[in-house]
C-alpha cells in the first residue's frame, strides 16, 4: 500500500463550531507552512500548490468559488450575508480559557457577543501579557509567522497553552456542542431574512456599505452615535429573527441608544410618541424662534469662508448657514411641521459640499477636505484641522442628542411651573454660538450621558419621502448648531 503523506495534525484538535482561524493557527504551528501553504487548506488544495490568496484574506468568509477543508467553518457558512454586519475581522477575539486549549468559535468574532458562552469570561482582543491588540482575523504574516503568539511581545497569548492542552479537549468540545448550538442555529435562521436595499429594491451585498445604510435609518443613527454598527446590527437582527439566548452574553445597548424603529411592521409606537410630543410643540417652537431671531438674523444666512489659499480652485467663498437646515429638521421633528420647500432649497444649496460619497473624484475629495478644514477653522476648530469630515456628523448628532436630553429634563422640571415661557424669553443666547463643543470630545460626552428622552428615540430621518441619504451630513451639521445654542440655553435655565 503506498504511503500516504498527510499534514501534521493532532487528535482532538478540531472542535465543534471551531472557527478557521485557530484551525489554521494549529496547522501553521504544526506544519510551519508559508501563508500560501495555509491558505491552500482553505481552497481545496494540498500544500505546496501555492495558490496565492491575498495576504489579508478575511477568514470570516470563504472565497465564493473555492471549497476547502475548513471553508465550511467560516462564519459566513452560517450567517451568510449577515456575516460582515455582525462580525468584525479587525482583530482576533478569544476567550482565554478556550484559547488555552487552542479553541475559538467563529461566533466569537461577533462584536455583540461579550462573554464566552462556555466559560462566561469576557472575550478579548488583547494579549493577556502585554495588552497589545491581536492581529487581524485573516491570513496574515503577523498571525501565522508565530502562531498563538503576540506579535508585539512574542509571548504566547495565554498562559498554559501547550501541546498537551491542545489535545486534551474532550470536555471542552462537549461543552461547545451543547452551548453553541443554539447560537449557530439562530445564525442559520438569520440567513432566511433577506437584506433588502430599499433604493434598488433588491438584495444588497455584504460589505462596508451594507444594509445599515439602506434597510433601517436607525442603525445609521446608532452608528453616528458612536455605537459599533455591528452591535447595532446584532440587535436589529434579533428583532428580525427571534433568538432564545441568554441576553447577558451580549453587549447591551444603553437605554438612551435603544432604537424604536422596526424594519418590518407598523409605526404605532412612533404615532403615540408624536402625540406625546404635541404637548411640547409650543415650547419647542418658542425655543427655535428665539434662536432664529437672535442669531440667524445677526449672522446672516450665509457663512463666509476664507478660501484664499485655494484660489486656483473654483470654491465658493460663502456657504449657506447651517442653521437653515437645522431649523427645518427641528420643525420636522419637534414641531411636527416641515417647510418641505425650504428643506429642499437648503439641501440644494448644500449639495456637494459635505457629501460622503465614495464616487467623488480624487480632486473633488481634495476640495472637500480643504473645504472641511476651512469650515472647521471658521468654527473655531483651528487646533486640529486634520479631522476627517466624516467624524463631524457623528459628533454633531451626539451633541444634538445631548441637547434633546437636557431640554427634555428641563421640560419635565418646568412643565408645571408655567413660567417657562418667561424664563426663556429672558435668555441671551448670543454666546451660545461659540464652537467650543466642536473642540470638545463630544463623542465621549454622549457616551457618558445616562439618559435619553424617550420621545426622541424613534427614527429621525429617512421618514417618508425625506431624502435622507444625500442630505444626512448637512442636516446633522445643522443640528449641531442648534444644539449649541439650545444646550447653552438649557444651562442658563438650570
Amino acid at each position: 500500500m503506498p504511503k500516504r503523506y498527510t499534514p501534521t495534525w493532532g487528535k482532538g484538535w478540531t472542535g465543534p463550531y471551531e472557527g478557521p482561524f485557530t484551525l489554521a493557527l494549529k496547522s501553521a504551528w504544526a506544519n510551519l507552512p508559508t501563508t500560501a501553504g495555509t491558505s491552500a487548506l482553505f481552497n481545496g488544495q494540498s500544500f505546496g500548490h501555492g495558490w496565492q490568496v491575498q495576504s489579508s484574506a478575511s477568514l470570516l468568509s470563504r472565497p465564493p468559488d473555492r471549497g476547502g477543508e475548513w471553508a465550511d467553518r467560516c462564519l459566513s457558512h452560517y450567517a451568510g450575508d449577515w456575516t460582515f454586519e455582525l462580525a468584525s475581522d479587525q482583530h482576533f477575539r478569544f476567550c482565554p480559557d478556550c484559547l488555552r486549549q487552542g479553541y475559538q468559535a467563529s461566533i466569537y468574532q461577533i462584536q455583540a457577543l461579550r462573554l464566552c458562552p462556555i466559560h462566561f469570561r469576557e472575550l478579548t482582543t488583547k494579549c493577556m501579557r502585554c495588552g497589545a491588540l491581536t492581529c487581524a482575523y485573516s491570513l496574515n504574516q503577523a498571525a501565522f509567522g508565530k502562531p498563538f503568539h503576540c506579535w508585539h511581545c512574542s509571548e504566547v497569548w495565554v498562559e498554559g497553552l501547550s501541546l498537551r492542552s491542545l489535545s486534551n479537549t474532550d470536555e471542552l468540545h462537549a461543552e461547545c456542542e451543547q452551548r453553541l448550538a443554539d447560537l449557530y442555529r439562530w445564525l442559520s435562521s438569520l440567513q432566511k431574512v433577506e437584506i433588502v436595499d430599499r433604493r434598488k429594491g433588491s438584495r444588497s451585498g455584504c460589505g462596508s456599505d451594507g444594509w445599515y445604510r439602506t434597510i433601517d435609518p436607525d442603525c445609521r443613527l446608532l452608528e453616528r452615535m458612536g455605537v459599533d454598527r455591528r452591535i447595532a446590527g446584532f440587535w436589529i437582527a434579533t428583532r428580525l429573527s427571534h433568538m432564545l439566548l441568554d441576553a447577558d452574553l451580549f453587549v447591551k445597548l444603553n437605554q438612551r441608544l435603544a432604537f424604536a424603529g422596526t424594519v418590518v411592521g407598523g409605526n404605532s409606537e412612533q404615532d403615540s410618541r408624536d402625540d406625546h410630543l404635541a404637548s411640547f410643540i409650543p415650547i419647542y417652537k418658542s425655543i427655535r424662534r428665539h434662536i432664529e431671531k437672535t442669531y440667524l438674523k445677526r449672522c446672516g444666512c450665509e457663512i463666509a469662508i476664507d478660501m484664499q489659499s485655494s484660489s486656483r480652485r473654483r470654491m465658493p467663498r460663502k456657504v449657506p448657514h447651517l442653521l437653515k437646515p437645522s431649523f427645518a429638521i427641528w420643525r420636522r421633528r419637534f414641531e411636527l411641521t416641515l417647510d418641505f420647500d425650504l428643506y429642499k432649497r437648503v439641501q440644494r444649496s448644500w449639495s456637494g459640499y459635505l457629501r460622503t460619497d465614495n464616487s467623488l473624484s480624487a480632486s473633488a475629495r481634495r476640495c472637500r477636505f480643504f473645504y472641511a478644514a476651512s469650515f472647521l477653522k471658521w468654527y473655531g476648530n483651528d487646533r486640529d484641522l486634520r479631522w476627517p469630515i466624516e467624524l463631524l456628523p457623528s459628533m454633531v448628532l451626539s451633541n444634538f442628542f445631548s441637547l434633546c436630553n437636557e431640554v427634555k429634563a428641563l421640560m419635565d422640571e418646568t412643565i408645571e411651573d408655567q413660567t417657562i415661557q418667561r424664563k426663556h424669553d429672558a435668555l441671551d443666547i448670543r454666546g451660545a454660538t461659540d464652537s467650543i463643543w466642536l473642540q470638545a470630545n463630544l463623542h465621549q460626552r454622549i457616551l457618558e450621558s445616562t439618559e435619553f428622552p424617550e420621545q426622541i428615540t424613534g427614527p429621525y430621518f429617512g421618514i417618508g419621502d425625506m431624502p435622507f441619504q444625500s442630505s444626512c451630513s448637512q442636516v446633522v451639521l445643522a443640528l449641531t448648531y442648534s444644539s449649541l445654542a439650545a444646550i447653552d440655553l438649557a444651562k442658563n435655565w438650570a
Binding site: K3, P7, T8, W29, N31, L32, S46, F47, L163
Partner: protein, 358 residues
C-alpha cells in the same frame, strides 16, 4: 482471468488442480508478500521491547545482508505498537542522501514520518521544527509518553546526519519532554560508521545511537528452521485464501496435507542440504532470505493438488538449497565464523581516557 472473478474465486479454498493453479498467482508465497517471524527475530524483538520499556537511549542491531533487517523493523514496529501503547513509533529507512545541509536531512526525516513536503523554500530551523512538531504532536495525540525511532539501514548515514538526528531528539525532549529510544538496524558497515565516529571523537553519537550493539542473527539450528517451517503449516500464522483455514503448505499440497504431510518434517533435509553448501563450517547462520527462498522454491515448483506424499525427496531440498542463493552468499555477503561486531581500534584508548577523565 478478470480481476473481480479472481477476487470472488479467492474467497474459497481451491477444489481442484485448475482452481489451485488459478489462485496460485495470488498467493503471498508466489508474490513474496508475507511475513513469518523467525526465532532470531523474536529474540531481537524481545530485546527491543525490553530496552524501549526501560526507556533506554538506543538499541542497535548489526545484520548480515539478506538476513531480514527490513522485515524485522516492520515486525518490531508492530510489536511495539501493540505491546507498548504508551510508546509512539516512528520508522525510518535511511537513505544515502549525503545531506551536507541539515534542511535536506530534516526534510527527509519529515517525509519518512509521513509528513507532507511543500515545495517552498524554508530555513533549516523551520525544517527541524517541523519534524519535531510532527513527532511530538503524533505522540501526544496517541497519549504516548515515549518515542521509539526505528531506523533501518543506519549505516547509510553520515556522522553529520547522525548529528542532525541527535538535534531532533534533543529538540523533541525540549519541546515535549518526550524521550526517544533509537532502535537502529544496519549491515556490518555500521560498525565502520561507529569506528569513524570514534575516530572523530563523537562519543556523544556513539552513546546515543550505537550503545548496546547486538548482532542480528540468522537461524542457527535445525530446530529453529523447523519452527519456521512449522509456521507454514499453521493456518493461524500463514493462511490463504483468507478465512479458508488453509495453511500455506496445505494450499500447495492439499491432498498430502490431509494425509498427514507437514512441511516442518522436511526441516532436517533442508538444513542438511544447506550444511553441505556451507561445507565443513561448524557454526553458520541462515538468513531469512535463504530459508524463505528455499521453502518457496519447493512449494511453488513442486506444487501438486493430487500429490499424496508431498515433497519429501532429498533431491528436492537439495535443489532448493542450490537455488536459494545461500552458497553464493558465503564469503561474499556472509562470512561464517567471522565476528560481525568488533571492538573499535581506539576503543581501548577511549576507554582509558574516559576513565582518567572520570
Amino acid at each position: 482471468m478478470k480481476e473481480p472473478e479472481i477476487q470472488s474465486y479467492a474467497l474459497r479454498a481451491p477444489g481442484n488442480r485448475e482452481e489451485q493453479f488459478k489462485l496460485c498467482a495470488l498467493h503471498p508465497v508466489v508474490r513474496r508478500n508475507y511475513f513469518i517471524p523467525s526465532p532470531p527475530l523474536k529474540r531481537a524483538s524481545d530485546l527491543v521491547l525490553q530496552r524501549v520499556s526501560l526507556r533506554r537511549t538506543s538499541c542497535s542491531f548489526v545484520a548480515v545482508p539478506r538476513f531480514g533487517k527490513t522485515h524485522a523493523t516492520r515486525f518490531i514496529t508492530d510489536e511495539i505498537s501493540s505491546t507498548l501503547p504508551d510508546v509512539y513509533v516512528v520508522r525510518m529507512v535511511c537513505e544515502m542522501i549525503g545531506a551536507q545541509r541539515p534542511k535536506a536531512f530534516h526534510d527527509f526525516v519529515f517525509e519518512s514520518s509521513g509528513g507532507l513536503i511543500e515545495r517552498v523554500r524554508r530555513d533549516a530551523s523551520s525544517a527541524l521544527m517541523r519534524v519535531v512538531r510532527r513527532w511530538t504532536i503524533e505522540a501526544v495525540s496517541a497519549k504516548a509518553t515515549h518515542i521509539a525511532l526505528i531506523a533501518d539501514e543506519i549505516q547509510r548515514m553520515t556522522p553529520e546526519e547522525l548529528t542532525y538526528l541527535a538535534d531532533i531528539t534533543n529538540k523533541v525532549m525540549d519541546e515535549s519532554e518526550l524521550r526517544i529510544t533509537t532502535v537502529a538496524f544496519g549491515s556490518p558497515e555500521m560498525v565502520y560508521l561507529r569506528d569513524t565516529l570514534c575516530a572523530l571523537r563523537r562519543q556523544d553519537l556513539i552513546g546515543r545511537f550505537f550503545s548496546g550493539l547486538t548482532s542480528f542473527e540468522g537461524l542457527q539450528s535445525k530446530d529453529e528452521l523447523r519452527e519456521v517451517m512449522q509456521a507454514y503449516d499453521d493456518p493461524e500464522c500463514a493462511e490463504f485464501p483468507p478465512g479458508s483455514g488453509w495453511s500455506f503448505s496445505r494450499f500447495f499440497f492439499p491432498t498430502a496435507y490431509q494425509l498427514g504431510w507437514r512441511l516442518n518434517k522436511s526441516a532436517p533435509m533442508l538444513w542438511d542440504a544447506l550444511q553441505a553448501k556451507a561445507q565443513k563450517l561448524k557454526k553458520w547462520e541462515l538468513g531469512a532470505e535463504y530459508w524463505s527462498a528455499a521453502i518457496e522454491f519447493v512449494l511453488t515448483n513442486y506444487m501438486d493438488f493430487d500429490d499424496a506424499v508431498g515433497p519429501i525427496e532429498e533431491q528436492v531440498w537439495t535443489a532448493a538449497a542450490e537455488d536459494c542463493g545461500f552458497a553464493e552468499s558465503l564469503n561474499a555477503t556472509y562470512f561464517p565464523g567471522q565476528a560481525v561486531i568488533w571492538q573499535p581500534r581506539s576503543a581501548a584508548k577511549v576507554g582509558k581516557r574516559g576513565k582518567s577523565d572520570a
